[in-house]
Symmetry: C2
Subunit: 119 residues, 2 copies
Amino acid sequence: MQLEQTDSTAFVQATLKVLGGKWKLLILWHLKDTAKRYGELKRLIPEISEKMLIQQLRELETDGIIYRETLSEMPPKVQYGFTDYGRTLIPILKPLCDWGQEHLKRMKVNGQNNTNSKS
Amino acid sequence: MQLEQTDSTAFVQATLKVLGGKWKLLILWHLKDTAKRYGELKRLIPEISEKMLIQQLRELETDGIIYRETLSEMPPKVQYGFTDYGRTLIPILKPLCDWGQEHLKRMKVNGQNNTNSKS
DNA sequence: CTGAATCCTTGATGATACTG
DNA sequence: CAGTATCATCAAGGATTCAG
């Protein structure tokens, strides 16, 4: 798809590929403090389907953001957590989610209205 | 779809709705320093179709992130720029895009390999 | 418990032509 | 110049079922 795309869009594509998934921010949010097992994540995010959970975890793993550790074979226990590289995202994750919270409040207050306060 | 979703996923949904579009980060990136006209944006992002450009601009406008100012009627001149509220995003935008740049470098170096350096 | 495989629906995206 | 409108596409997401 993106071959030698070193233009101005490349880094945006890259960022979006890592964080753009519908559930990735949420997954990372849950993992940012403590590593968690598959079942825990599933319980923490009830709305997500198993397929999507696995899929997004895999992608995050492929991107080097999180690791996957098999704790024992029988019964299966798998733990997911941030890699060192993934942790470089946390300083970004925090303000991003904070902003989301504030934005949510604002939407609730204004309803669908937007006070177009220009510069 | 999301009715009274005040659970933990709400703020993620909100964030993704604002920034999740394929081109929004890029558009905001171009607008973050100086307001720009429609044609300038189109020229700066040649890959985007007119429909998507308008659409994403409209959504950002609806979300109160950017404003739209009609400068004259004939010939049409329309300028887009950050609102005061939108500017609250800039401190987030910067590190996010910086991270994207770094991530891009990393991908180029490692190819498709990921050095799974765990905690 | 953790995960793989399949099928299906939908929203997001794109290409193109047209308009004030 | 700055859009609109329409049609086509396509990948993401979701439901379900099966497996180690």
